[in-house]
């Protein structure tokens, strides 16, 4: 960089220097003379010396000033000379290195001088050019520069033009030629500066071609494309946008959206533009556009910001018509919503696994039931559901194998939720291939509740069956066709047909007893009312049993069928008969009481007369012997005769008959006893002991056995509950039982070895229990059932009246409000059990 010397050196101005010197000299002379005069007024010698010094001082100062001035002038001159040289050098460099050709011409166009660029452009050297005229270079016809030269006149005028220059080799090239006229030292020149614009032309042509290329591209694009300026005016549009706007594309340029589209749409577009302007990013806008045909279409407009070289902002946009796509999308969305609704409405979980057993699709219910999120489910492996235990996993893996082999598999497995709660599921799997890939799909149903219900059903069925089986009646379920649906244990026992044989078969086939009663079943079914069949006879265990059957229509709505119940009413009928008989006995007892005296007296005569006969036939009786002798015979003959003619047996028969008749009357009278008034709190142990004492001295018994040989075991609890009873009656009850036991043991074949009677008395809540147990042969069931029946006896004729136990039963149940039962053990022996209601304890009351 060349420094300007004007900035370093002050320009010396001669007038100012001379004036300053004159004034300073005058002032110094006047001042110094006046000072010397004042100082050395009284010493002229000094004054002279002082004047001399003053003169020399002045000379010295002037000399210094002069030196300074001259030095400065010299420096200024030198600086100017350097500056000029530099300036010239700069100018030369400028001219020689200028990118444009510079021609110094005479006003007529004759070239005076040129710079090296002119030689480079034209191919002529400087010497050649200097001999040429500008019109020689101008390739235009006529030369364009010629007129220009004529136009520019001094002092200064400039013009410019475009023309082509010709090179030495004949080529032409475009230039921009600037002409300036100037006058230097009285001589006029024209300086022409020629700029080679061939490169610029080329670029301009390229730009034009690029623009046309762009236009052809964007017009080929079926989507509308536009460029808008900052104010929303179209700068560039394609034919597609023109078509949408309903005008040729040229007509759109410079106009805005609002000029072509409905106001609300245009406002939306401009709002989008503003957003893109603000953010500078690319945005997609879903909009609608109404074309010239009035149809509104769905579009997506992609807009971006473009800032040109001048910093101007533009909106570049492309519009995509998505009406069809949207229609398809909507249809697909509807279809998807529909299929998802279908999937979600499946009553369970639905899944699709890929070949790696990864879950790929599922329904919403799988999420809600297992509490896994969709993201987590996407990570799930088939076996992740079933925990760690082999017994949970193995069925699943086996089901997968089955599915591969058979094309379908179902399995019950315990599925775990996210929290690890297991529920039993019924899971299915079907393989499928989609796009060549293998998948399997299926559904899962939570069967926990069903399983529970099933278990409950099984349990309840078995409960019902066990209830039915424990019923002492045959219970048979029949459907509307009369086929067996239920068959309890008693039904099996009674019919001889097992449950498995009977199920599902017609009743008449499996239960011949009921075969004649099909009509009763039909009536129950069709008329829906119970029907009965009474007193059917069945031979069982060698005895005749009576059966009542009843058909009940099923009460449950919508279920038709009947329940058949068959009861063994033998016992009930027998008890009924017994009660009838007891009632008869009661009334008979009332009558008997009135006539007992009248009967007993003759009976007394019969018995005692017989006894007298026996007495008076005894051969060892003195009076008999006397009388016989007096009659000419002897007792031996009479006895022999009696024996020969069985008179002795007849007498015994008369005696027995009289005793039996007497006993019968006595027992009949027992039924009519009204003993309420004789009730009192009894000592039961004492009563039993009294009965024991009576039994041991009962002459009736002595005939058949010796009571003293029976081992009597008394087992009485210490604090027996108090009961209210009639002592004499209870005494008779126990006497009857003791007599019964003793006779049973004595008459057994073979007789009981080591006969024993155990008497037990003990308290139970609310009652007193007395048991009389023998170790005799026991009683067959039939006899046990009928033990309390009046006139029922297993004893030989004459040994019992058949009324003893029934009287006892009557006394205990009727007269004392108690209960009496008889059981026979499997190893023999009979236990009679008497329960009497205990008196309420005073302290408990």
């Amino acid at each position: 960089m060349i420094r300007n010397p004007d900035h370093d050196v002050h320009i010396v101005r001669p007038a100012r220097v001379v004036a300053l010197f004159t004034l300073a000299s005058a002032a110094w002379i006047a001042f110094s003379d006046r000072l010397a005069g004042a100082l050395f007024a009284d010493s002229p010698s000094s004054l002279i010396w002082a004047s001399t010094v003053k003169g020399w001082f002045y000379v010295a100062v002037v000399a210094v000033a002069l030196w300074l001035t001259l030095y400065r002038i010299n420096r200024q001159f030198m600086a100017q000379r350097r500056s000029l040289a530099a300036s010239e050098e700069r100018f030369r460099l400028l001219v020689e290195n200028a990118g444009d050709a510079i021609y110094l011409c005479a006003p007529d166009g004759a070239i005076v001088d040129v710079n090296p660029e002119a030689s480079r452009q034209t191919g002529h050297d400087r010497e050649g050019l200097v001999q040429m005229h500008m019109r020689d270079l101008d390739a235009a016809e006529p030369p364009a520069s010629l007129a220009a030269f004529g136009q520019i006149m001094p002092p200064t005028k400039r013009t410019s033009l475009e023309t082509d220059l010709r090179r030495k080799n004949g080529e032409t090239f475009p230039v921009e030629l600037s002409l300036v006229s100037l006058e230097t030292e009285g001589q006029a020149f024209v300086i022409g500066v020629a700029r080679d614009v061939s490169e610029r032309r080329r670029v301009e042509e390229q730009a034009k071609a690029a623009k046309e290329f762009l236009a052809s591209i964007i017009n080929t694009i079926p989507d509308p494309v536009f460029v808008k300026d900052r104010l929303g005016r179209f700068m560039l549009v394609n034919d597609a946008l023109g078509a949408v706007a309903g005008s040729p594309r040229q007509d759109l340029l410079g106009k805005r959206d609002a000029d072509f589209f409905p106001r609300d749409q245009a406002a939306a577009y401009e709002a989008g533009d503003a957003l893109v302007m603000q953010t500078g990013r690319i945005h997609d806008f879903e909009e609608t556009i109404t074309g010239p045909d009035g149809r509104t279409r769905d579009i997506i407009t992609k807009k971006s910001l473009f800032i040109d070289a001048g910093g101007e902002k533009h909106i570049v946009g492309v519009i995509r018509d998505i009406t069809e796509r949207k229609r398809i999308q909507d249809a697909m969305a509807r279809e998807k919503a529909f299929s998802e609704a279908v999937l979600d409405s499946v009553p369970g979980v639905l899944y699709l696994y890929d070949e790696n057993q990864r879950l790929v699709r599922w329904n919403k219910r799988l999420e809600t039931l297992t509490h896994y999120s969709a993201e987590e489910l996407g990570q799930m492996h088939l076996l992740d559901w079933f925990g760690e235990n082999a017994e949970d996993i193995t069925p699943v893996t086996e089901a997968m194998r089955r599915m591969e082999a058979e094309g379908y598999a179902a399995v019950e497995a315990r599925l775990r939720t996210k929290e690890g709660v297991a529920s039993l599921y019924y899971l299915t799997a079907v393989p499928l291939v989609i796009d060549g890939k293998r998948y399997f799909t299926g559904v899962g149903l939570d069967i926990t509740a069903r399983k529970l219900a099933e278990d409950e059903l099984v349990a309840s069925r078995s409960r019902i069956n066990s209830i039915l089986d424990s019923m002492p009646s045959a219970v048979i379920g029949l459907d509307e066709r009369g086929l067996v649906t239920h068959w309890n244990g008693y039904a099996a026992a009674l019919s001889g047909t097992s449950r498995s044989e009977a199920m599902g078969r017609p009743l008449a086939k499996v239960f011949p007893l009921m075969a004649p009663h099909g009509q009763a079943m039909e009536t129950a079914l069709t008329e829906r009312r119970p029907t009965q069949v009474e007193r059917m006879t069945v031979q069982q265990d060698g005895a005749t049993h009576l059966m009542d059957a009843e058909f009940y229509p099923l009460a449950t709505e919508g279920v038709s069928g009947v329940v058949l119940r068959i009861d063994d009413v033998t016992e009930r009928e027998r008890l009924r008969d017994m009660m009838v008989q007891t009632e008869k006995m009661l009334s008979m007892g009332g009558i008997a009481a009135g006539i007992a005296h009248e009967i007993n007296n003759p009976l007394g005569i019969v018995l005692q007369a017989t006894q007298n006969l026996v007495q008076r036939l005894r051969p060892d009786f003195a009076k008999n012997v006397e009388a016989a002798t007096a009659c000419g015979t002897d007792m031996e003959s009479i006895a022999a005769y009696m024996k020969a003619r069985k008179l002795d047996v007849f007498l015994a028969d008369i005696q027995d008959a009289a005793l039996r008749a007497s006993a019968t009357i006595r027992h009949m009278l027992d039924f009519s006893r009204k003993s309420e008034s004789r009730r009192k709190v009894c000592d039961m142990a004492a009563i039993i002991d009294k009965a024991l004492e009576l039994a041991s001295s009962d002459y009736d018994l002595k005939k058949s056995y010796d009571f003293k040989k029976i081992d009597i075991v008394r087992d009485f609890a210490d604090d027996l509950p108090a009961v209210d009873c009639t002592e004499i009656e209870m005494e008779q009850v126990f006497l009857n039982l003791l007599r019964n036991a003793a006779q049973a043991m004595a008459t057994a074949q073979p007789p009981t070895v080591g006969p024993r009677i155990v008497l037990r008395a003990y308290g139970q809540p609310g009652r007193l229990v007395v048991e009389v147990e023998d170790n005799g042969p026991g009683m067959p069931p039939e006899a046990l059932r009928r033990a309390f029946e009046p006139f029922y006896t297993t004893k030989p004729i004459g040994v019992g009246t058949g009324l003893g136990l029934s009287v006892s039963y009557f006394i205990v149940t009727r007269s004392h409000g108690g209960a009496m039962t008889a059981v026979s053990g499997p190893g023999g022996g009979v236990t009679f059990r008497i329960e009497l209601p205990a008196l309420e304890q005073p302290e408990a009351a």
Binding site: H597, N600, P602, A609, Q611, K623
Partner: protein, 127 residues
């Protein structure tokens, strides 16, 4: 009472057959002197003349009741022991009978065993 006199028994029954059986049976043993009456009144009259050791008494009698007879005879000291010989079966030992000095062994229901009667009479006389 003469030293060789036999103990006197009194049979009170309105039924002639009964009286005959008892009297004949008891007389056969030659241990007792047996008298019989068909009513309480007659029996009391007979006993007024000669008291008895044991009376066999039917309860149901025409006119005075057998129990009244026992009461009367006892009060008047006409007989030491009484046995009931009854056709009524409700004549079990009651406090009323016990008050008359009877025990269960003293009650015989018709038809009664003669041997048992005899045994009881002998036992009473021995006491």
């Amino acid at each position: 009472v003469t030293p060789n006199a036999l103990p006197r028994l009194c049979v009170l029954d309105d039924e002639e057959g009964i009286r005959r059986q008892l009297v004949n049976f008891l007389e056969d043993f030659d241990e007792f002197e047996v008298i019989a009456a068909d009513s309480a009144e007659q029996a009391l009259r007979l006993l007024e003349e000669t008291p008895a050791a044991v009376s066999l008494v039917d309860v149901r009698l025409p006119g005075s009741h057998g129990l009244d007879f026992i009461l009367q005879a006892r009060q008047r000291g006409l007989c030491r022991h009484f046995l009931l010989h009854t056709g009524s079966l409700d004549m079990d030992l009651s406090p009323e009978l016990e008050a008359l000095g009877l025990s269960a062994q003293d009650i015989f229901h018709k038809p009664a065993d003669l041997a048992a009667l005899l045994e009881r009479i002998r036992a009473l006389l021995k006491s």
